[in-house]
Amino acid sequence: MAGLSIRGLTKAFDQVRALDGVDLEVPDGQLVTLLGPSGCGKTTLLRSVAGITDPTEGGIWLGDRRIDGVPPERRNFGMVFQSYALFPHMSVFKNLAFGLEMRRLPRSEIRKRVAQALHLVDMEAMAGRLPRQLSGGQQQRVALARAIVIEPDVLLFDEPLSNLDAKLRDSLRDQLRALQRRLGVTSIYVTHDQVEAMALADEIVIMFSGEIVERGDPVSLYRRPIFRFTAEFLGRTNVIEARLDGDRCRLPWGDERSVENPGIDDPAGVAIRPEDIAISTANGSDPHGEIAERMFLGAGTNYVVDAGGVRVRVNVAGTQNDLIDIGTPVRLTPPKSLHLLRRGRHGSAEALA
C-alpha cells in the first residue's frame, strides 16, 4: 500500500477550468474527504484519480509510480458511485466476481473471496439476488463489497450515501468508516455533506471553483478555519463585523471580546458558532437584543436574535430548557476570545447553502 500524491492537476473543458492546479497528498491508509458545493471540481478530481477523466495538466502518483495515463483497468482502484452502478444483469455474486474474473483468479479463490467480502458488508444471504431485488442501502453495500473484494490500492467514493435516506445514511456511514479503518486502504471520499465529511475524514479538503480553499483535520478546520468560506460551509456560523482595536474587538451589541488572531490580512469578521453563544432573558438588565425567530428541533432549539442591527443565530442544545418567546429581550454571552476570519477570494458560502 502507498499514499497518493496529486500535483498541479488541471482539467480544462472548452470554457471552464473544472480543476485549476490542485495539489493534494493522501497519506497511506488515510481517508481524505473532498468537500464543496456542486461544480467545485471535487468529482472531476476523483474521476481523474480513477482514470475515468483525463486531466489536462499535472500528475498523479501512487507511492513513486506515476499513474495518470494508466487506463483505469490497470490502476487497481476500487470505486463506489452515488448511483451504486451495479451490473443490473448480474447477480450479487456475479457483480463481486467480475473484478476477480478480470484478474483471472481460479474459481475456488473467487468463491472464497466473494464470500468474505459479502460477509464484511453483511450481505451473504443476498448472493443470488439481482440488484433490482435489493433496497438502495443493500445495493450500496454490495457496491462497497465489489470495490473492496479486488483488494484495491486506493478506494474512491463518489457521494456514495447521497441517494439514501437519513437514517440509513448514518448507519452506513459508520459501517463504511469502520471498514476503511480495518482494511487500512488509502481513500478519497467526495461529498457535499459536511457532517459526513467530519464523521469520516482524517483530513477534510474544502474545494471551490476548481481550487482547494483550505484543508485540515476535522477538529481544527471546524474550530479555527482561516477563511470565511470554510467557516460557513463546514457547519453554520455567525460572521460578525466587529470593530477591531488591537487584540480586542467590540461586538455590535456593545460587548467587548479578545481576538485570538489579530492583525490578519483582509478580515471578514469574527466567527461565532451558533452553539457557542449562551442566551438568557434580560430580566430587567440591559438587553443585547430580542428574539426574532424560534425553531424547535427536538434535540435543541435554534433562535435568531436581533442584536445591535445584526441577526445572530443561537443554537441551544438539550431538551430541558424553557423556550424563549419571540420578542423577548435577551442577553448574549459569546465565548471569551474570538477567532477572526479572512475574506479570501471565495467570499461567503451562505448563498450556496
Binding site: R47, A50, G51, I52, P71, P72, E73, R74, R75, N76, F77, G78, M79, F81, Q82, S83, A85, L86, F87, P88, H89, M90, S91, F93, K94, A97, F98, G99, M102, R103, R107, I110, R111, G128, A143, R146, A147, I150, L156
Partner: protein, 300 residues
C-alpha cells in the same frame, strides 16, 4: 334457506358484473385491436386462404406441391433467407461497433454521427444502383484496382449475391446503429466506469456489459433488418444473379407478368412462416446464451 338463496343471488350478480366489465374492456380494446385485426389479420388470412385456392376458386394443395417440388422455388426460398440473414449479421457486427464508438466522445464525433446516417435517406433502388456503379465489372472499384494489378472477383449478379448483400448491409447499418446506439446510451455511464475500474478493458466492457444490457435494442434491430431484407425486391433484382432468384422476385414475376396470383399467395405464406421460424431460432439462441450464463452463475 334464505342464506343459500342470498348467496346464489350474490354470485349471480357478481357474474353479471364480471360480464359487464369484460364487455367494457372489449369495447375499449376495439379501436386498437379492431384496427389490427382488420388491416393486418384479414389480409394475412386472405393470403393463407389464397394459397389453398386455385385460379378457378376451388380448394387445392397443388400450389404447395408445386412450391416444394420445383427446385426454382426451393432454391428461391433458401436464397431469400441467405439474402436476409447475411446482411443482418454483417450489419449487426458493424452497427454494434459503430454504436459503441458513438458512445465515446472524440473530435469530429458530431460530423461522424451525421455522416453515418446518409444511407437512411437513400431509397433501396438508389442504393442498388450505387453498388452497381461501384462494384460492377468496369465499375469504379475495378477501374481503380486494375492498374494495380488486382483482379476483383465478380460482385454484381454473382451466384452468392455479394452485391445485393453489400447494398442491404449499407442500407441497414444506420437503422441498426440508431436503435442499438439508443439502447446503449440508456445504460448508466457509471456502470461502464465501474467495470473499467474493476479491471475490464473497452472490449470486455462492450461484450460483458454493453451488449447484454442493450440486448432488447439489438433484437429489435435484428428483426427490422431481417424482415426488410427478406422482402426486398429492388436490390436482389438489380444486383442478384439470374439463378437462383429470391422469392420476392418470383412473386413479382408470377403476379404481375403472369397473373398467377395463387402461387404468389403461397410464396407469401411460405416466406412469412420461414421468417417466423428464423426469428424463433434467433430468440432461442439468445435465450440459450443468456440462460447458460444464468446457469453458470447458479453453479458457481
Amino acid at each position: 334457506m334464505t342464506a343459500i338463496t342470498e348467496d346464489h343471488t350474490r354470485r349471480a350478480m357478481a357474474k353479471r358484473d364480471q360480464w359487464a366489465r369484460n364487455r367494457t374492456i372489449l369495447l375499449l380494446l376495439l379501436p386498437g385491436a379492431g384496427y389490427l385485426l382488420f388491416f393486418f389479420g384479414l389480409p394475412l388470412l386472405r393470403t393463407v386462404v389464397g394459397s389453398f385456392t386455385s385460379l378457378d376458386g376451388a380448394f387445392t394443395f397443388d400450389l404447395w406441391v408445386e412450391l416444394f417440388s420445383e427446385p426454382v422455388y426451393i432454391d428461391g426460398l433458401f436464397f431469400s433467407l441467405w439474402l436476409a440473414i447475411a446482411p443482418t449479421v454483417v450489419a449487426l457486427v458493424i452497427s454494434v461497433l459503430l454504436a459503441a464508438l458513438l458512445q465515446a466522445t472524440f473530435p469530429g464525433r458530431r460530423i461522424f454521427g451525421a455522416l453515418y446516417r446518409i444511407p437512411l435517406v437513400v431509397p433501396g433502388i438508389v442504393a442498388a444502383f450505387l453498388v452497381m456503379v461501384m462494384l460492377d465489372r468496369g465499375g469504379m472499384l475495378s477501374r481503380i484496382a486494375e492498374p494495380l494489378g488486382i483482379d476483383l472477383p465478380r460482385m454484381v449478379r454473382d451466384e452468392w449475391g455479394i452485391g445485393a448483400i453489400l447494398a442491404s448491409t449499407w442500407k441497414n447499418i444506420p437503422f441498426m446503429t440508431l436503435i442499438i446506439g439508443g439502447a446503449m446510451s440508456a445504460i448508466n455511464r457509471d456502470v461502464l466506469h465501474a467495470a473499467r475500474t474493476l479491471g475490464a478493458g473497452r472490449l470486455t466492457v462492450l461484450l460483458r456489459i454493453q451488449l447484454p444490457l442493450a440486448l432488447p435494442g439489438i433484437s429489435a434491430a435484428v428483426l427490422l433488418t431481417f424482415i426488410s431484407s427478406l422482402g426486398s425486391y429492388a436490390i436482389p433484382n438489380l444486383l442478384g444473379p439470374a439463378y437462383p432468384l429470391p422469392l420476392s422476385v418470383h412473386m413479382y414475376e408470377q403476379g404481375f407478368r403472369r397473373g398467377n396470383w395463387p402461387i404468389v399467395y403461397a410464396m407469401g405464406t411460405l416466406l412469412s412462416v420461414a421468417a417466423i421460424f428464423v426469428l424463433l431460432a434467433y430468440y432461442s439462441l439468445i435465450g440459450r446464451l443468456t440462460g447458460s450464463h444464468a446457469r453458470r452463475e447458479a453453479r458457481s
